[in-house]
């Protein structure tokens, strides 16, 4: 069988913000492709630009340059200028359901809005569709008449997920959907998301800082640092053979709960330093000031992304 057309292609995408202190290169030339039905984990620390990537794909920011191709169509513009069909196909779930749901609307009104905008189902049946959505995310039907403030954090996030699914999208951006939640609720929501993916053939761009979570659900993992991707590989390959020194630093920093996990953490590298200000990105490789394996060349030349066997991409002079 022929390989399916990729659902999303990102080419040399950039987003610069002008501030009084100078230009912030939030996203500085990233490229990747996503296949239908996969989960790409986009991992990075705060300020790495991972959410900016999500917002550009969702059409909340217009890219400074570069292309976003969704199902063969160029959508490198704001959501305002996209066709209704594209907007229906791409949905986003935000980190904090406390602020992403309108506190003055009932859950029914919140879930009804996308149905009305995208004219899904006959108007008379939309109330039933809302009920179906609630059932899908395992919430009681009488939650329809509650306000978000009456729900717990986990339940609110389920409403946010139901809202994203309301338009029957093909592509869902999950921007740290569980990082504000406790582990037991996280487990529940992740399981639910994985079930929806299987049933509906969804593609997920999963933005997170939690590598242990990605180990369990991602098909591929990309690591971002200061607006650039420094490593991208299929999940299994990624966790067996983390190559980039920054990836190793991240892995060695994770507090784990068992000896088996302890054994997987790179030992050589100790975390040090902080992410530099994105206004003043260091010359050469932006990681060189924190890198334990820094060489002369790293201080001058920014490395190019290269492909190694096993579809393993890495951007580091060590592998050139």
């Amino acid at each position: 069988m022929d390989k399916l057309q990729p659902i999303l292609q990102i080419a040399n995408l950039k987003k610069y913000f002008r501030t009084t202190q100078g230009t912030v290169k939030a996203v500085d030339g990233i490229s990747f492709t996503m296949e239908q039905g996969e989960t790409l984990g986009l991992v990075g620390e705060s300020g790495s630009g991972k959410s900016t990537v999500a917002y550009m794909i969702a059409g909340i920011y217009a890219p400074t340059s570069g292309q976003i191709i969704f199902q063969g169509r160029d959508i490198s513009v704001l959501a305002l200028k996209r066709s209704l069909d594209v907007k229906r196909s791409i949905q986003i779930v935000f980190q904090d359901p406390g602020t992403s749901l309108n506190p003055r609307r009932t859950i029914e009104q919140i879930l009804m809005l996308p149905l009305n905008v995208h004219r899904i189902g006959p108007p008379r049946e939309r109330q039933d569709l809302v009920r179906n959505l609630l059932q899908k995310v395992q919430l009681l039907i009488d939650y329809a008449y509650k306000a978000p403030g009456m729900l717990g954090g986990g339940e609110r996030q389920m409403v946010a997920i139901a809202r994203a699914l309301a338009t029957q999208p093909q592509f869902v951006i999950l921007d740290e959907p569980t990082s504000a939640l406790d582990v037991i609720i996280q487990a529940k929501i992740i399981k639910m998301l994985m079930n929806f993916q299987r049933e509906l053939g969804l593609s997920y761009l999963f933005i997170t800082h939690d590598l242990s979570l990605m180990r369990n659900i991602a098909t591929r993992v990309a690591i971002m640092y200061l607006g650039k991707i420094c490593e991208l590989a299929p999940a299994l390959e990624f966790f067996q053979k983390p190559l980039h020194p920054y990836t190793q630093m991240l892995l060695s920093s994770i507090p784990v709960v068992s000896r088996e996990e302890e054994a997987l953490k790179p030992k050589k590298i100790q975390p040090r330093g902080e992410i530099p200000s994105p206004v003043n990105v260091p010359p050469g490789c932006s990681f060189h000031q924190r890198c334990p394996e820094v060489m002369e060349v790293c201080k001058r030349v920014d490395p190019q992304m290269i492909e190694l066997p096993g579809e393993h991409f890495v951007r580091c002079h060590l592998f050139h």
Partner: protein, 321 residues
């Protein structure tokens, strides 16, 4: 082993319009001299209420209904205002979750650090000496260029740097007990690792006793000698860190560990339906019983007590009787 702080049968509640929220339900904690005690549990389980009861900083409406908090044998709940001033800040100090909120934005780091050092000092101290100590304290938490940092305002520092300032402040008065409430929760993972390592080193060198409060099982495993697992205002299991992570016995601890995504793959098991009970409508008997897969009739009738089931390993569950 000498016990520095002992919490005995602590009941704390909050008054709200609808009634009283009986959050803490007989919490017992013992902090031996020089040990690091972990207090771990989900949001709303009463970790912070425990800390606030110990520090007597409960918000309006909050009240300790009964119990004792013995610091070196003296009951902090009965101590007078004067005594309290002598204990908090110098005998017991704390690090809070959000360093941005813990530092005053309109004073420089130096002003705040110097004030803490002078007030916390047992003998009168000159401004100059206090400044020198402040520089030394910042050096100790590995702040680059500590003299310059003294004249900086908190907003000029990154989150990790602010938390270093808070640690410097908490340790500057050489306290015997440090209470750290989620000190790295708002930080990135590589920064968290550095702060934890620093904290571990500094309290180890001083032999400071620590109560380490966190929702993260991974963090508590790295930091604490002993772990107390909290659920809905009760301590359900406690023991040495090694013991709790290799032989968890309470159904809640087991479920909590199973829900953790593992770096080695696996985890994310969803076994406990529901969430922490409403403190206005608490279940009778064991507070975990409505969510417990192994609940029996007895669990909904009486409250299990913490009992020693293996040497040094205590569990509050009838299954282990």
């Amino acid at each position: 082993m000498e016990i520095l702080l002992e919490v005995r049968d602590l009941f704390t509640s909050y008054g709200i319009y609808e009634g009283r929220l009986k959050v803490l339900d007989g919490v017992n904690l013992a902090v031996p001299l020089g040990e690091k005690i972990g207090l771990v549990g989900e949001t709303g389980c009463g970790k912070t209420t425990t800390m606030k009861s110990i520090l007597r900083i409960l918000p309006p409406g909050g009240r300790v209904d009964s119990g004792q908090i013995l610091f070196k044998g003296r009951d902090l709940l009965k101590a007078s205002g004067g005594e309290i001033q002598g204990i908090y800040g110098s005998g017991i100090s704390m690090i809070f979750q959000d360093p941005t909120a813990a530092l005053d934005p309109v004073f420089t780091v130096g002003d705040q650090l110097v004030a803490v050092i002078r007030y916390g000092s047992r003998v009168p101290m000159s401004l100059r000496e206090a400044r020198e100590r402040a520089v030394a304290a910042l050096k100790e938490v590995q702040m680059p260029d500590p003299k310059r940092i003294l004249s900086n305002y908190p907003v000029q520092l990154s989150g990790g740097m602010r938390q270093r300032v808070c640690i410097a402040m908490a340790l500057a008065t050489e306290p015997e007990l440090l209470i750290a409430d989620e000190p790295t929760t708002s930080l990135d993972v590589t920064i968290q690792a550095q702060i934890l390592r620093l904290l571990y080193f500094l309290v180890g060198r001083r032999n400071t006793s620590v109560i380490f409060i966190t929702h993260s099982l991974g963090v508590v495993r790295e930091m604490a000698d002993k772990v107390n697992v909290m659920y809905a205002g009760t301590i359900v299991e406690c023991g040495s860190t090694e013991e709790i992570f290799s032989h968890p016995l309470h159904p809640y601890t087991i479920d909590l560990l199973a829900a953790m995504p593992r770096l080695s793959g696996g985890g994310l098991e969803e076994r406990v339906p529901g969430r922490i009970p409403d403190y206005l409508n608490l279940p009778v008997g064991c507070r975990f019983q409505p969510r417990c897969v192994k609940a029996q009739l007895r669990c909904s009738l009486e409250k299990p007590k913490l009992t020693e089931v293996r040497p040094g390993h205590y569990v509050a569950c009838f299954l282990e009787d």
